[in-house]
Amino acid sequence: MAASVGRICGAGLFKSNKTNCLRQIKSFSTTREWTTGKKTLFGSLGVLAGGAGVLIYALDKSVRASDLELHPPENPWSHSGWFKSLDHASIRRGYEVYKQVCAACHSLRFIAYRNLVGVSHTEDEAKAEAEEQMITDGPDESGNMFQRPGKLSDYVPGPYANEEAARAANNGAFPPDLSYIVLARHGGEDYIFSLLTGYYDAPAGVILREGQFFNPYFPGGAISMAQALYNEAIEYSDGTPATASQLAKDVATFLKWTSEPEFDDRQRLLIKVIGISTILLAITYYAKRFKWSSLKTRKIEFRPKNK
């Protein structure tokens, strides 16, 4: 082991060879032969392209003050970061919020009760959650649909039979399905949090129609959903104080999980990818230096023929 480490270091693996690189660029670069005009042209093209890139980046990062909607600020989520997992206690509380508040109008049709097992609920608890719901099943022998208590394999039933029924019950506005809402909205979980806590009285000049409310985070400002989360709107089973911001944070975390159920696995995989890539990169670097060493250290001698 010591011998091989000594050999690696002895071969100058970590020695800087900057002068070598510079010499190669100087000797082999074809730009040396360009005319001044061509050099100027390509130089200005490069500067222009770089400048355009910087401009586009700066425009994207600007405050977007000309928009009429308010963009949500970035919140310090416990799952934001390279290796951070979702907060599963928060997912569980968020499910309580969804069930007791959001589910009155919003469906969650891509989440089955079995998905909750091992994420926020034990198998028995998820079964109990499913059994609380009546699911339409069938047809039976006589061809009729029938109601039965839910099973683990059932998807979360929605509050309305179809979109038209939902619109008819909500002043013509359709409450969107919440399964993938975090991925479907600009700003993600920050938007959900800001929207749920961002209800204000409409400023002068903003005209709201019947059944509309003012929310600056909603595109257009007029939202048909009334403020749903208030302090102590529900009572958490784990005793967490149910402030409006706590409810919004928990339900945003829950919806982040419903949108990206693979989130934790992805974070876990990132650690492995970085680890393996580091090892492979080191091996590749060593192998390259090893294979090229004979080529790099050779000398070509020119001996003119003596006549």
């Binding site: 599963h88 994420v119 034990t122 650690i271 680890g275």
Partner: protein
Amino acid sequence: MSLSKTIYNTLFKRSSTFALTCVVSAFVFERGFNLGCDTFFETINKGKLWQDIKDNYTQ
């Protein structure tokens, strides 16, 4: 006989033992690497994962 020579003679010299060494070391590395990565993930996320909170809900 030095250590590297012993390793060479017992493991790498014959193709049969060399192939076996590759397979066994790949298995050991894979298990160890996965275990290490998972331990790291579970350490920095302690208290947030389901395995940390599930005892509150099971009797």
